[in-house]
């Protein structure tokens, strides 16, 4: 049974580029259950051959028993008749039972295959570098989980088994036909040739029309999305009539294109079906003449007629599923492309460990959570291990960076942040502020030795350990579906309820959370739409607080909180920042005033640096920005 919206006809017959290897690769997924697949094969073989055998027994029944017995009873023949019928019934039973089993096993294999494809895709996706997500839209990636896997699902549940059973049937029936009568077989071959040509012609034409339909559908859906997204603007500008008119035009174009496409799809089935009736008629006629001439027996004619049915049915079926198989293969190809993506490289070997300081003042590793962290640095040359206390010292040494080779985003950036210092970045959009913070946690990599964390080259630090030692609060705060408690706990999965509430209090989020219908157990829907943007940011700050990292990055973390609330949470923010190295990016310059150092960036270069007082007395760019003389967008 097809799910909603997953009908072969409606799909884009986008052609897979490398059909052979895609099929081979899909088969390897199926082949992981070799034994089960073997059973499926046996099942298909049984159920298809039963059909052929059944029909050949029909010939036997007619020629050996019914024809001679017609109107004159014979005990021996009657016994033979009953015996043959019993055998026939037995075969048929075996056939039905094997159909039942093989389709059940096939379903198990195909659902497992889908599970494997989905989880492999997701596992791979989680390991991909940020760069990958920069260059692919969410819609594009989502459609691999929806449209593409749906197409594969349909192919696995409808087409794969069908294809094998059709192949078995066609081969089996064809050999029986040759065995029974070569003359009639020629008739069948000629008709088959005509039918295949019809499929090819109509299929080719409908392919073009489907492409056109898909384009128009894209235009209509794009317009719908844009207009509904901007519906409130439409209302404010009384633009309703104009957008209705434009839509009517696009909609009519779609109707014309889809009528053309569906006409071809719709007539394919009746044409194929009725051509098989023509084949049936010709067989009956030619067979009849041959029988009258004594060339073949009556049973042969009857059986042959039955065979023409068995023969053309799978061909019609396969031709119907052709488009959906093509789009499934194209979908599989896109999925494999994702699975084959290069994961985020990580050859770091310096790890983060819990530590304590022994009586001699030495840093020692421990399994317990002591609140003290250390970098465990094994040295390859002599096999020794050194421990460095995690303090949060960050250095940039003449860093040059660009997202692609052609365009440099950061040029010759050097900076130094001592443990516990607050460093602010100021500059307009595109100046490179966020890029700097993205380099610290290695969302993007720079060449060796340029960035050091507690004196260690960050490329030597294992990525996950590096990131665990940093917390980041982003401008666009996205939360997860789950309770408020779970969302804050995301920062530290084993945090107790008290720790979570403590963090919320620190971020000044406790007071509004308390007033939510279910307090900390309030379910947040995807993206936390039942909270205001400001409240979401407070939760994100609490999430960072519970993680308790030595280094904190605040990327426009308070931009959606109004100034009054911001001044209310300032105390909380201050205590959150206390004792940590903090990098702040802020639009509102009032929030960065008390930084140890303010770095003004322009076009990826540091143009000014110093404390607020230093920079104000410089009367340079910062002064202009601060006094509102210059645009910051």
């Amino acid at each position: 049974m097809p799910g909603p919206g997953s009908h072969g006809k409606g799909m884009i017959p986008s052609k897979p580029k490398n059909t052979k290897s895609t099929i081979r690769r899909l088969l390897t997924y199926l082949a992981e259950d070799k034994v089960l697949l073997l059973f499926v094969g046996i099942g298909i073989l049984l159920s298809s051959s039963v059909q052929i055998i059944g029909t050949s027994m029909l010939k036997k029944v007619i020629d050996q028993y019914l024809f001679p017995m017609a109107g004159n009873y014979n005990v021996a023949l009657m016994q033979g008749f009953i015996k043959t019928l019993m055998i026939m019934l037995f075969f048929y039973l075996v056939g039905s039972i094997s159909t039942f089993f093989y389709s059940r096993i096939m379903l198990r294999i195909s659902t497992k295959t889908l599970y494997r494809i989905r989880t492999q895709m997701f596992e791979k996706m989680e390991t991909l570098p940020i760069k990958f997500f920069d260059t692919h839209t969410h819609g594009e990636l989502m459609s691999r989980y929806t449209n593409d896997t749906d197409a594969i699902r349909e192919m696995l549940s409808n087409s794969v088994a069908n294809f094998f059973s059709s192949a078995v049937t066609v081969i089996g029936v064809f050999s029986m036909m040759l065995l029974y009568s070569w003359q009639l077989t020629i008739v069948v071959i000629v008709m088959l040739f005509i039918m295949l040509n019809v499929v090819k012609t109509i299929g080719g034409k409908s392919g073009n029309f489907f492409k056109k339909q898909q384009q128009e559908l894209g235009a209509v859906n794009g317009y719908i999305e844009e207009m509904i997204e901007g519906q409130k603007v439409v209302k404010v500008f009384c633009h309703e009539e104009a957008s209705k008119q434009k839509f009517a035009q696009l909609n009519e174009n779609l109707r014309v294109a889809s009528t053309n496409a569906n006409t071809f799809a719709n007539i394919l089935m009746p044409i194929m079906g009725n051509l098989s009736h023509v084949l049936y008629a010709i067989t009956a006629m030619v067979g009849g003449v041959l029988a009258i001439l004594g060339q073949i027996s009556l049973g042969t004619v009857v059986a042959f007629l039955q065979y023409t049915r068995n023969f053309s049915q799978p061909i019609t079926q396969i031709s119907q599923q052709f488009n959906s198989v093509l789009s499934a293969l194209a979908g599989a190809e896109r999925i494999f492309l994702l699975i084959d993506e290069q994961p985020e490289a990580d050859d770091g070997y310096v790890t983060l460990v819990n530590a304590f300081i022994d009586e001699n003042g030495m840093i020692r590793e421990t399994k317990e959570r002591t609140g003290i962290w250390a970098w465990k640095h094994p040295h390859k040359e002599d096999g020794s291990i050194t421990y460095t206390k995690v303090e949060g010292k960050v250095e940039f040494d003449r860093v040059i960076f660009g997202y692609d080779e052609k365009k440099t985003v950061l040029n010759d950036i050097s900076l130094y942040a001592n443990p516990g210092e607050k460093i602010a970045f100021v500059g307009s959009t595109g100046a490179g502020k966020t890029t700097i913070t993205n380099l610290i946690n290695r969302f993007y990599d720079v060449p060796d030795g340029r960035i050091r964390y507690d004196g260690i080259n960050i490329n030597k630090i294992k990525k996950e350990d590096l990131r665990r030692s940093l917390s980041i609060v982003l401008q666009d705060t996205h939360l997860f579906t789950g309770t408020v408690m779970e969302n804050i706990r995301y920062g530290k999965l084993d945090a107790t309820d008290e720790e979570v509430i403590g963090a919320a209090k620190l971020a000044n989020a406790h007071s509004f959370i308390k007033h939510l219908p279910d307090g900390y157990q309030t379910m947040l829907t995807s993206d936390g739409t039942n909270l205001s943007q400001g409240q979401r940011q407070l939760i994100a700050i609490a999430r960072a607080a519970v993680a308790d990292p030595p280094v904190l990055i605040l990327d426009e973390a308070t931009s959606s909180i109004d100034t009054r609330t911001e001044s209310l949470i300032e105390k909380g923010m201050d205590s959150l920042m206390k004792g940590r190295t903090v990098f702040v990016i802020a639009h509102r310059l009032s929030t960065v005033r008390n930084s140890h150092a303010i770095i003004v960036l322009e076009n990826g270069e540091i143009i000014e640096r110093g404390s607020h007082t230093d920079l104000m007395s410089l009367t340079g760019k910062y002064y202009q920005l601060y006094t509102g003389l210059f645009e910051l967008s």
Partner: protein
């Protein structure tokens, strides 16, 4: 529901009616073919018809097949026309209805769900409809036709069907009834899984910076596994139809050969007739299968149809009260008279409470207040984007409800907080404000909004393509284009809802100066976070939790209003 959707057929109704009728023609031919075949065997081969009769009958059969082919192809053509026309009409009705929606109608559905209703749900309904008109009549007619033919051939033999048909029918009904809730459960799990993939895409930086990849993978695996189980549970029922169908068919065939064979032995039945009876077994049982498939398909698409009808049935809550009102807004006075407002329409959950104030035409009014103090809500009442719960909003001397929406909104321009540009060039976007504006007027508006210079700096100037949602310009630039678009309307009242938040203070004040000098007659209402944006206004409204906390000039408020002073201090601290 059916009636409502049937109404969408419109001019394509004739195709919707013709399709099943033509399908009947195809069915009649298909049902007759095995009958003629029996004649060939019994009269041509076994009887004394000979070659001439066989060929004659054979040609008749070919002719019938060709006629059937034409009927089938014609039916397919008509079905495509009916189906696609139907979909077009539904889509258009939905779209037009949504265009007429008020803000609260839109809020109720959410944009994402409206988009799904107009796209996926329409496609599902269209497919179900096409299947219905093609197969909905064909299958039962095939069933009845084949039954009639078999009874004509032999009543005695046909009694077999009296057992076979009910057995298969009951099995199919049982299967689809049990399967339906399981499919629903599966789809729900499936949606949940996709939602979490979406969430991961949006949150990828959070996931990575907290090193929660493994945590997310474990979560996803659980979900994917429950989808797998749900799919298995649902589909294992459906795939049972095939073996059950085979079983019933095979047993019926054997029964017919046994009974028919005995009749042949008794001399009152012919071999050709037996052969055609076997053909009818396939036709009858296949059409039953087809019926059950249609049944399932309709059940599945019922949810989609419901969602479509929900939109069509939605009561539009803001309409012209005096449709033929010729009343035009004559000036920009705004009076709020004891205005109460609630999004839920309930007295005990007021968003705005007892608002009273008067704005003279041409004044500049600032509105200040914290997050959630209902600033946006207040201004949305002016162009009647929402209706008040009680009290009155009076514009230019008349209640907003006395004007037609068109006349009212022509004169009230509003730059929304979440403002959007549309795909197309800058010029095309500006023309939303005034279709007939000359190029000079466009440029003039852009100069006032401080947008002209940066627009001219683009290689294509006013012809620059903005891309969907205006992705090709920065936040501050977008806001200024939006302001220019609103200025082009030359409104009596101009509302700026936090529309310069991404613009620097210097440019911001230039925009205000330009408006001050060129829009003397226009009432300007400005919502802002920055106190500098509103401190020069004639009057400032301080909102707190939906209540008026202060109303006066900057100096007055600095003296008397605690909240205002606090906001001022929080922003000025840095300078001292």
């Amino acid at each position: 529901m059916v009636k409502k959707l049937a109404g969408c057929l419109g001019e394509y109704k004739k195709y919707a009616i013709l399709t099943p009728i033509i399908m009947i023609g195809e069915v009649v031919m298909e049902v007759m073919i095995p009958f003629v075949m029996a004649q060939i065997i019994d009269k041509g081969i076994q009887g004394n018809g000979g070659i001439a009769y066989t060929v004659k009958m054979g040609l008749l059969m070919i002719l019938m097949a060709l006629v059937s082919l034409s009927f089938g192809a014609l039916g397919g053509t008509f079905a495509a026309r009916a189906g696609m026309g139907f979909a077009k009409n539904i889509r258009e009705r939905l779209f037009n209805k949504v265009q007429d929606f008020s803000f609260s109608n839109i809020d109720k559905f959410s944009t994402a769900s409206l988009v799904t209703r107009l796209t996926t749900d329409v496609t599902n309904t269209q497919n179900a409809f096409m299947m219905l008109i093609r197969m909905g009549v064909r299958a039962p007619f095939m069933l009845i036709g084949a039954l009639i033919m078999s009874f004509t051939i032999s009543t005695k033999l046909s009694t077999v069907f009296l057992f076979a048909v009910p057995v298969l029918a009951i099995a199919l009904v049982l299967i689809s009834q049990t399967a339906y809730p399981r499919f629903k459960a599966m789809l729900k799990k499936y949606d949940g899984m996709n939602a979490s993939v979406q969430e991961n895409l949006v949150n990828i930086r959070v996931v990575k910076s907290y090193v929660r990849e493994k945590h997310e993978i474990t979560k996803f695996k659980e979900q994917a596994d429950s989808v797998r189980k749900a799919q298995y549970a649902a589909e294992k029922l459906v795939i049972m139809t095939m073996p059950i169908m085979q079983l019933v068919m095979y047993v019926t065939i054997v029964a017919i050969i046994w009974i028919g064979g005995n009749m042949i032995v008794d001399g009152d039945f012919a071999i050709g007739q037996l052969s055609s009876m076997i053909s009818y077994v396939t036709q009858i049982l296949m059409s039953l299968m087809m019926l059950s498939m249609i049944f399932i398909m309709i059940i599945i698409s019922r949810a989609s149809m419901n969602r479509i009808v929900e939109v069509l049935d939605e009561e539009i809550d803001i309409k012209d009260i005096h449709e033929d009102s010729k009343l035009k807004v004559k000036d920009g006075t705004v009076i709020f008279k004891d205005v109460n407002f609630s999004y839920s329409g309930k007295e005990n959950n007021l968003t705005l409470e007892h608002l009273n104030f008067e704005i003279k035409s041409g004044e500049t009014i600032g509105i200040i207040g914290g997050t959630g103090s209902a600033k946006t809500t207040l201004v949305q009442l002016i162009p009647r984007l929402y209706d008040v719960l009680s009290g009155e909003v009076i514009i230019g001397g008349y209640s907003v409800q006395d004007y037609t929406l068109k006349n009212l909104r022509e004169e009230v321009a509003m730059v929304l907080q979440k403002n959007l540009l549309f795909s197309g060039t800058i010029e095309e976007n500006l023309r939303w404000g005034n279709e007939e504006a000359s190029m000079d007027e466009l440029m003039d508006a852009c100069k006032k909004a401080q947008a002209h210079d940066f627009i001219m700096a683009f290689p294509d100037g006013y012809q620059t393509d903005l891309g969907q949602g205006g992705v090709n310009v920065s936040g501050g630039q977008k806001q200024r284009i939006c302001i220019a678009r609103a200025l082009l309307k030359q409104p009596k009242i101009l509302i700026l809802d936090d529309s310069t938040s991404a613009v620097d203070t210097a440019t911001d004040s230039k925009i205000r100066e330009a408006m001050q000098s060129s829009l003397k007659e226009t009432t300007k209402i400005i919502i802002a976070q920055r106190i500098t944006s509103v401190m020069d206004a004639d009057k400032i409204i301080v909102l707190d939790d939906g209540k008026m906390n202060g109303f006066g000039t900057h100096d007055e408020l600095m003296e008397t209003n605690v909240i205002y002073k606090e906001v001022y201090d929080s922003q000025q601290k840095g300078d001292k």
